[in-house]
Each structure stands twice: as C-alpha cells, then as structure tokens.
C-alpha cells in the first residue's frame, strides 16, 4: 500500500525553525511505523535522526508523537494509524529537540532520579543471608508500576508538564509508586515528601493523557491517585 509520511524535521545546525519532511513509501499494512521510518532513513534521506534500540517495545527509545498521540514507533502498525493515506510524526512535546525525533531527555531523568528509584532497606539481611521475601499479595500491590520502561510517553503527553517542566511528571510518580508500595522498602516517607512538593503530585489534574498514551498499559492516573491518597491519609495500603 501507499503511505504518505509527514515528519517534523529540525536540525539546529542549519534550521531556524522546524519544517515538515514529506515522503512517499510503498509499505505493507502490517509494517510498523518504525519500519517506515527506517525505510525513509535508509533509502530516501539518511539525515533523519531517531532513537531506537530493541525495536520490540521493551527499551522505550522510540517514543514519538504519531498522529498527535504519544506512541512507540515499534509498537504501532501502519494499518492502525494511517488516515487518508497519511501518517504525521513529530518528536514528543515539552522537551528540547536536539535533532528531528531526538529530544533532550536529561530533565526527564533528573525528575526520575529525584524520587530515589532504588530499594532502600538498611535492616540486616534475613538470618539465612538470602533475599528479603514478601507475600504474593504484597508483590501484586505494585505490579502495575513495575512495567514502566521510562519511554516518557506519559510525561510528555501531560498538559501540566507542557506548561511547567519543573512538574515531576507521571513517569517519576509511577516509579516512586513502585517503591512506596513495596513492603520491603523503607524510604516511603522521604519519597512522599519529595512528591508533596509544590511541583510534585498535586500538579496532576487527572487529564488521563498519561494513561491513554502508556505503551505498557499502566493505569498511570490511578497510580498517581494512589500516591495522592497515601499523602492524604499517611497510610500505605
């Protein structure tokens, strides 16, 4: 089938502002958007810059705005996205564009690091010296938030984040949730204090863009709601 691909291009070395690159391709309906981008880069215009690594929806490198919605290019089929023979692709919003689809992810990872994304437990190991066990129910409690791959689809679809980059963003809150609700973790107090900041969890106005855009189907807004509830009641349950 024929595909007209419209890609927002920007090279800061010689472009004053972004421009639309338009490419006509022959594709299979079951091809992924990433295949179409590869086709452009490898046969039509080698200057197109994009990030991708595993190409199977696990590494989270190729988040981009496809027809106005944040998606992973490797998880979207052309037949599902094509409208009137065309697909529009832009870099994710709210981040500084370095080149074409590549954005500066440093602020995103700074927010991620700020919530201490690692297990904190200073108590001695169990007597047998092996792992700290937890019940299946306790493990299930934070199962949804362990699925995050840090692709930034959620954070860069959030209107609060577009308006104010200091907002910690849905991805960092999901990562905090993963540890706050882990029965083995002991730093819930510190994480909740960080999230109670003026640019923390209360900036969320439940727009649900994050839930809609998550390629891992994490219920992001619900996760944020659970953190709010823990902050309100002081109970982590």
């Amino acid at each position: 089938m024929k595909l007209h691909l419209k890609i927002k291009r920007f090279n800061p070395e010689h472009d004053k502002k972004p421009w639309w690159g338009e490419y006509d391709l022959d594709v299979e309906p079951g091809d992924r958007i990433l295949d179409a981008l590869h086709e452009v880069k490898w046969t039509l215009d080698g200057t197109l810059a994009l990030r991708r690594s595993c190409a199977h929806g696990v590494c989270g490198s190729d988040a981009m705005r496809i027809n106005g919605r944040n998606r992973l290019a490797c998880k979207c089929l052309i037949k599902d996205e094509i409208k009137n023979g065309q697909i529009v692709i832009e870099p994710i919003l709210g981040m500084r564009v370095l080149k074409d689809m590549i954005v500066d992810m440093d602020p995103f990872f700074a927010h991620y690091r700020s919530i201490m994304p690692f297990l904190v437990n200073d108590t001695p190991l169990p007597a047998n010296g092996r792992e700290r066990l937890q019940s299946p129910e306790d493990r299930q409690r934070f199962d949804d938030s362990t699925k995050c791959i840090l692709c930034a689809c959620c954070t860069t679809s959030c209107p609060s984040f577009w308006a104010r980059g200091e907002y910690i963003g849905p991805a960092a809150i999901v990562q905090a949730h993963r540890f706050i609700f882990d029965s083995r973790d002991q730093a819930a107090q510190e994480r909740l204090e960080i999230l109670s900041d003026v640019d923390g969890v209360w900036r969320c106005r439940t727009a649900f863009n994050c839930t809609e855009s998550c390629p891992r189907d994490i219920k992001v807004t619900k996760t944020i709601g659970e953190v709010k509830e823990a902050l309100r009641t002081g109970v982590i349950a």
Binding site: N128, L133, D138, S183, L192, E193, G200, L231, R232, V235
Partner: protein, 144 residues
C-alpha cells in the same frame, strides 16, 4: 527452607512536615469537594428556576419574593435563599481563584514578580466581585 510470608502489609508514614506542601494538598482536596458542591448547587438553582418556576416567570418580583425586599425584615425561607446563593458565590470565587492560581503557577511560576503581580490583580478583582455580590445578598432585592 524459608517460610513464605503471607497476606498484605499495611504501613503508615508520619505526617508530611512542610507547611507549603500541606497547603497544596488542602487546596487539591478543596477543589474536589467544592467542585462537587458547586455542581449540586448549580443544578438545584437551574432545576428550580427553569423547571419549577419556569423561565417565563423569572422576574424581579419573583426574586424579591424569594430574597425578601431591601430594608425590610425577612423570613426564614428568604434567609435560606440568601444563604444558598452566598454559598454559590463564596465557593465559586474560591474554586475559580484557586484554578487561576494553579494555571498561573504553571505558566509564570518561574517569574516571581510576574506571578505576584498577576495574582495580586486577580485576587483584588475577585475580592471586589465577592463584596458586590455579598452586598446584594445582605441588602436584598429592590422592587421596581
């Protein structure tokens, strides 16, 4: 052989100490509760005026009847109507102002001067509107 832990663990944390953060939490909760209250209050107003009274019967005389006439003593029903509209006025102004504060923080929060000046103007205007509305509710309607 280790035994498998069972059941759910429920933990508690101490109250979050920073005052500013508790303010944001309080305002977030206020927005939820006041939003719900305003929806009910506004729907009640709409249902009463448009369905029970009927749009063709909304007149100054009807308002005077509901609120009581300016300068005269009012009965309990008229006092209830005034209190009802005072609740709408107060909640709507606080809810609206907090919404504007949130948006202003989003867009100009980094510029402390712009933020302070903008919020100063917004609060001043909202206080004027609230005072005018309150005066109308205190003194009642004037029959023509």
């Amino acid at each position: 052989m280790t035994t498998q832990p069972l059941g759910r663990t429920i933990r508690t944390v101490k109250p979050i100490p920073q005052a500013r953060n508790n303010f944001e939490r309080t305002m977030w909760l206020f927005m939820r509760y006041s939003g719900l209250a305003l929806t009910l209050l506004a729907l009640t107003h709409f249902g009463y005026q448009h369905i029970i009274v009927g749009t063709q019967n909304i007149t100054t005389a009807q308002t005077v009847n509901n609120w009581g006439e300016a300068g005269k003593s009012i009965n309990l029903g008229q006092f209830a109507w005034r209190a009802y509209y005072m609740a709408i006025l107060g909640l709507a102004m606080l809810h609206g102002m907090n919404g504007v504060r949130q948006i202003a923080w989003d867009y100009i929060g980094n510029n402390k001067t712009a933020y302070t000046v903008f919020m100063g103007i917004v609060v001043l205007l909202s206080v004027i509107v609230t005072i005018l509305g309150t005066l109308a509710l205190i003194f009642g309607a004037t029959a023509k």
